[in-house]
Symmetry: C4
Subunit: 237 residues, 4 copies
């Protein structure tokens, strides 16, 4: 059946959502993670306004990639569902999306400043600054607001799937961070890293930021990404 | 019996008080939540100076809305009881009140600056800045001090119940935040949000705050409030 | 026997020490609380360099008020023992002393700035700024260094026991906070409050501090202290 | 057998690694501790990219001091292994090395500012500022990058083992802190202290830092280190 997703996908999406409060990224019920099954043409997402304590795998909502309709689930999906959908449609290589209102990333979004690359912590994951979108226009707010929130990110990256892979996150102006990855877990980890580097950048700016040499940043990104990556233990927890 | 409140109200007020330390809003015993039963003409509030660890439903104090006398309970009510009472009397639509000394909201109160609207996190709950009162006069401090602490909030909002619904909180100058809502739980959640947006605003100001477009803020407030609200799952936890 | 202290005093001092890490005031083993038995002429204090996890009532050390010698206990007392002793000798009304290296209070001590009174959170406990001592001279560092660390606090307060009661804490320049109270528990609570108001003051200064009216501060101090105090529930937890 | 290490060393290294997240120094899997057995010519280190939750003593990797080859273990060692090795080779007195991306120490590293000595908290452990290295050159990044990351620290200290003992840590420019000690546990504790004093320094600088008198700093360092040390209880937990 087209709308059915694997238990594994449900479990991954549930677990990634539960990690939002554990990682200190959530206030109340704010924040949501989704994961996509491109063959089935659907994605699984947190329901709207449900507390993490009460969240079970059965509460997750399965949504059609094609038109945003609910395919499975008895609750309304997150109000941010259409933002997730627009990102999945624009960037074929991504498998998971996370949205939070984490404190320091939101501060950069509210100041409409990108999170600058100031060191290897950032360069290990983001091959460039975490960019910030334009503010949505009155028209973009009036109709299909949530879909347009994704669209301003897509426009910012000029719809370039490769860029989305190199810098897996963006700040929506006056709103907050959206991050993505090859699956739900990766998108959540990028949200954690986005918040960590935003906090480090804020303190660095207070001390007087100094631009790092590009060859150092390149070295860090390529040791974790691409054909010559040598970080980690494939298969280990 | 007029002074008796339902077990449900007691449980809600107890639970909201216990969430103060869990949400990181409390130092020692600071902070208190109350909930009102308007038909019975009473409200239920935390006793004064009791630690959250030791707090049980039986320790809560039931207070008369009309004159502030203790209707039920063997402990003294919170010293802030009269502040709660003045807010209930001025704003008929509110059902719960919370007071904390949460760090960042207090910093704005001490600097006598409103918490500005800098993004959607704020606009989702507060339809405008969280305002700050005038400092209490020597006369207001000398007599009925706690009642007057509520009264300066009432004066700030010109006693307007609609405004109290649109911006469910205020900072008392050199003191701290008071928030309210349709019930005790909602007032507590507004205290959590007030602290979260104060922290975000502090960091945004350090980075250089930029005013957000009004149409974005309006969109966020109306998607959670009013006749066209579409956020959340009514009835879900 | 003169050197024996009650189990109750031991338990209070142990419990107050264990609250240091729980209140977020400790890094590693830094921080210590003592409590005095003036009739017995001794005080009970944490041993030096023992981790809070491993600390039991039997590890506490009983020290002579008169000469600082160990009266009971198989471990060395805290290196700060002589500082505690000099405070007990100078201020007859105090029953407990706490020393921590809590982050924000240390920042004020390192900047050699008093923690200013910016609101009611501060005025509820400290009837004036938390003052900062002069730096110790080479002579004061060379000999009886720890005793002299207490002495610079005594000098700062001109040995005035009433002042010590009104502002139960001080910052030692380039070192950190020492607080005291009528017993060990109270001294620990003053350390918690000292750190809380230091953090609030730091953020308030960043936002632009405004001096609060004196009549407001007076009102708060007197509602918790002195003959007309009406805060709290005597006897309740 | 040359490559075999004692169970005690394994346990110490494991325990020190597990303390990284508990001390709030870790985001995700970032951070690693190693401990050396100089007689056996090997050191034990955390595997690359394994989460702390899943880490067991058997996952640790034993690496040759002489050439960096894996002597024992089925996982790849930390990508930072060569940095640890270069420090062990340069400084014969050290027995453990810790690397983290703790927030405030990284901020100083990113601003390329040493952590200044502003008080006794710092002077208790570090007999001078925690220095910051030069940025690595393109050549140092291109080949043997991780080994060179250690080498810039060695160069900064002019290969002086005594200096490494007096200031047991350094910041690598645009990267983060490396600390060391006589064993794995000590190196980890120095990482905790490095982060604590970095946070205190950041706040002190915001308030206006004042240089402390050298005689005070000397007094603190010597009461914990060297022949006249009198801090702590040897043998106690």
């Amino acid at each position: 059946m087209a709308g059915t997703v694997s238990n594994e996908l449900r479990r991954d999406v549930l677990e990634a959502n539960l990690r939002i409060p554990r990682a200190g990224l959530a206030t109340l019920t704010w924040g949501n993670v989704s994961g996509v099954d491109r063959e089935a043409g659907v994605f699984v997402i947190k329901p709207s306004g449900v507390s993490y304590d009460a969240l079970g795998a059965d509460d997750l909502v399965v949504v059609s990639l094609a038109d945003g309709s609910v395919v499975e689930g008895r609750l309304r999906p997150s109000t941010d569902t259409e933002t997730h959908r627009s990102l999945y449609l624009a960037f074929p290589s991504i498998g998971g999306v996370t949205h939070t209102h984490s404190t320091h990333a939101v501060a950069f979004a509210q100041a409409r400043r990108p999170i600058p690359v100031l060191g290897t912590t950032h360069a290990d994951t983001f091959n460039g600054p975490v960019p910030v979108t334009a503010a949505l226009t009155p028209e973009q707010c009036a109709k299909h607001y949530e879909y347009n929130t994704g669209q301003v990110i897509v426009d910012l990256l000029e719809g370039d799937d490769t860029r989305a892979g190199e810098v897996p996150g963006a700040l929506v102006a006056h709103h907050g961070p959206f991050t993505w990855g090859t699956d739900a877990t990766k998108s959540l980890e990028h949200a954690i890293i986005c918040e960590a580097v935003a906090e480090m950048a804020l303190h660095t700016i207070a001390l007087g930021a100094v631009e790092p040499p590009q060859h150092l940043l390149d070295r860090h990104f390529t040791r974790k990404h691409g054909p010559d990556a040598y970080y980690g233990n494939p298969g280990a927890a």
